[in-house]
Subunit: 203 residues, 2 copies
């Protein structure tokens, strides 16, 4: 069984756990204590030079870091990842949008909030909120005319976008400005295989 | 011929131009004036809800935003993008690393520098430098033992990583700390099809 090195607080790790629920996959989840620096130790840096969870370790010892690469690898051959080149390109488009525009802003704003550092670095926090608002507005414009992110059906693009869109309030965003995102989150949450978090963390 | 909506200053657009040079592809490059807000007008928002270049428009009118999705779409079937699922996963891993850890930090630091706003928002600039140093250190650890990013050969992962790694000095990074990245950049630049920028911009 593949090992997922992860941490309960990681929304990137949650992407793999949510996908596993949708596909009925079994993963052995191994928690790394990030505050104790476990992801920065030499044995873990050998698995991921970036020193971050999640990392997927296959049975032959091959290690695959980066949440969206893990999701694409695990979803290969399933109904959540299209085979058609142009359809797949639209899925990838939203997965790259998530990584460059949604995650860095909601993710860092959330981490500053959760650790109480938003007051220590107010302009850093403010800039992440500004840029995150731009990203949420873009997603909202798109979802105003589309039930799902990439195609006319639920795909892995929805899974990875949901991971950070669903903790925007915790990070300090007012979601009243993004009604199409809020309605889409409800559609994701209404799917039978949905899990808020398999480790019981709300945020 | 596909249209690439782009801007000379865009390193994300440069990824598609560099790939086109390596593959001998023809693209009709159409420049959008970002300072005049052309990427935020309704006609362009219909092509990309995020209001950003690059966007690839196919002959049937289909629009594909996000530089890395464009690169993957154009490279499909070429030697720069492996077919094997696990090899492709390693390519995608570095492309997602680029989007989440390299681009947001080097990219915003560079934009603040180029527009003279680094002095107006010193803590925002400093935080992007800190996080960018982490990303460059991770890439350096990996490239210390590997000639190319994802596999034992040049792939699209090298193309997309190079786009921002090659402007790190402009953004304010001291590259003396990352000798493996510097050596890898020289390997990329030594390839026969390499272009610094087809629009003649150094930075």
């Amino acid at each position: 069984m593949p090992i997922l090195y992860d941490n309960p607080v990681s929304r990137n790790g949650y992407k793999a756990r949510l996908l596993a629920s949708h596909l009925g996959l079994s993963l052995q989840v191994v928690s790394k204590d990030l505050r104790a620096g476990e992801s920065r130790q030499a044995d873990f840096l050998a698995k991921n030079a970036a020193g971050k969870v999640p990392v997927l370790e296959l049975e032959d010892g091959t290690c695959l870091p980066e949440s969206n690469a893990i999701v694409l690898f695990l979803a290969e051959g399933s109904a959540l990842l299209p085979v058609d080149t142009l359809e797949r390109a639209q899925v990838l488009r939203w997965m790259f949008f998530e990584q460059s525009q949604l995650l860095p802003n909601i993710g860092l704003a959330r981490m500053l909030k959760l650790t109480g550092r938003d007051a220590q670095r107010p302009d850093v926090y403010a800039q992440r909120i500004e840029a995150g608002q731009d990203a949420l507005a873009a997603l909202d414009r798109h979802l105003a005319g589309n039930d799902w992110a990439a195609l006319g059906r639920f795909t892995v693009a929805d899974i990875v976008l949901y991971a950070y869109a669903s903790v925007a309030e915790v990070a300090g965003f007012d979601m009243a400005a993004y009604p199409a995102v809020v309605a889409w989150r409800r559609r994701v949450e209404a799917l039978p295989a949905h899990i808020a978090s398999d480790w019981g963390f709300a945020a």
